[in-house]
Amino acid sequence: MSRKLFQVIKPGLLTTFQDLGRTGYQEYGLVVAGAMDDFSLQISNLLVGNRRDEAGLEVTMMGPTLKVLEDAVIAITGGNLSPRLNGKPAPMWKSFAVKEGQLIEFGQPMEGIRSYISVAGGFDLPAVMGSNSTFLKAKIGGLNGRALEKEDILYGNEDVHAVTGRSLHYDEIPKYQKEVTARVVLGPHQDAFTDEAIKTFLSSNYEITPQSDRMGFRLKGPELTHKTSADIISEAIPLGGIQVPANGQPIILMADRQTTGGYTRIATVISADISLLAQAAPGAVVRFEEVSVEEAQEVYQGRESLLRVLDKVSK
């Protein structure tokens, strides 16, 4: 049974439905999209008793104002954008009840820039190619392929598992800072760069520029020099791939990246650190630290184990 959950009073800067992405279609040129900070989305889902891959709202910088149309249980995770419920600070990383007529609002971004809102039972949305992720450029997924707009009504499914007061242990809550260390696996085109460039890349500070969005983060810092050319024959590009065009300034490819590209890539950010990067605002500083594939996969496994434990507890 579908029910009216929220009315959008103010849409916020960029509020979209996202799940863990539209996988399986990259070979046809279809962009994956999905939550920029997939860790926070999975946690917000688990806190309200949802499946990890249920769609939630991704709120960017300046959050929306939502009027509650029917009692529900929600959780807000990710960046702290000063969420409020009826004028009082709302909890983060914890499920709580919202009552008909109440207002969910956001204020100043305090830490991080993207929040996630999950509702027990999940939002009721038509899946497009197996996913509810909004991909704005192709106008698909989420709510009619677009960001929330004023007066939109958001529908939810009947909730079955709703529990309030479930929270994430303090130690597990990510800390979002103005300086981010992103671990990387070098390559695949590290041979296209001078030895000096690799050294520079792994030892310098890069600043996230304002030309950064869901597609990619353009960085500014010491130039990375190619041996001969910055171009390659087009090939698939992974999430977190760091491409370096001829100007020597790296670009980290994020959720809405194109499926293929023709620039050399010096390294790939490991998946666990994408969530931290996703919370970094323009002006933040990124440093890169090399790890092996095996080390990166240990980190992946650690995070996966945590999510599985929480998943079990929440059922």
């Binding site: 497009v128 024959i233 698939a236």
Partner: protein, 240 residues
């Protein structure tokens, strides 16, 4: 020859099949992708064939890098032994050339000192290899267009090109899967939707197969367009 590969972070691996764009390299990737599909290795999420590479994305909690690599190497040995052969399909793309929906046919003809009929004949008598898909959903990167009809892009790109438009840019030809701006010389239009997010099979073409444009009359175009609207159209394909 040993398999060349690179990790793509902790969730991807790239296999390299050659250094230059060639049909032979692309066919190897096709064969490998078919084997990979049949093998159904646990943990593999998806793959993306390109001109010279095949990128595979996987879940490290299901299969680790080394274990996956060993499986991929075994598959590669099978290819080396010539066990598998590519069964390539040729998809037929019915195309109405010229007229309002092919406004640049005349320019392409003039530019190459040909008649419009010549351009249509040459353009529709080739099997074009789909090297890879990308750029926008469902866009095929095609190889093999004869130089006789090569034509530079428009000096001023159009702000809107209809979905289904068939165009030429330099020595490339292609079809626009959705309405986008673009600078290709538009010589015709197909009623077939290469990309339709609402369809059970949202994207019609697959890399490694071939595509052939088939010249149709306005009447045939309308009939196919109607069948597409009703969801009754099936794309023709045959073994190459």
């Amino acid at each position: 020859m040993k398999l060349t590969y690179h990790p793509l972070g902790d969730t991807g691996i790239q296999l390299v099949f050659g250094q230059t764009i060639s049909e032979e390299t692309n066919q190897k990737i096709r064969i490998f992708t078919d084997l990979l599909k049949a093998e159904q290795i646990e943990g593999i999420v998806e793959w993306v064939p390109a001109y010279t590479t095949l990128s595979i994305f996987y879940r490290p909690d299901k299969v680790r890098y080394q274990a996956l690599l060993e499986k991929l190497e075994r598959l590669y040995e099978n290819i080396q032994r010539g066990v598998a052969e590519a069964a390539s399909l040729v998809y037929e793309i019915p195309t109405y050339y010229g007229g309002e929906t092919g406004p640049d046919l005349n320019f392409v003809a003039d530019h190459n000192g040909l008649s419009e009929e010549d351009v249509i004949r040459i353009h529709s008598s080739q099997d074009y290899l789909i090297y890879m898909m990308g750029f926008v959903p469902g866009f095929p990167y095609l190889g093999g267009m004869p130089e006789e009809i090569a034509t530079p892009r428009l000096e001023e790109p159009r702000s809107k090109i209809a979905a289904g438009s068939v165009g030429i840019a330099g020595s490339q030809t292609g079809v626009y899967p959705l309405e986008t701006p673009g600078g290709w010389q538009i010589i015709g239009q197909t009623p077939v939707k290469l990309y339709d997010p609402e369809r059970e099979q949202p994207i019609l073409l697959t890399a490694g197969h071939y595509l052939r444009f088939v010249s149709v009359s306005r009447k045939e175009y309308e009939d196919i367009a109607e069948a597409v609207r009703l969801g009754e159209y099936k794309i023709n394909s045959k073994e190459k």
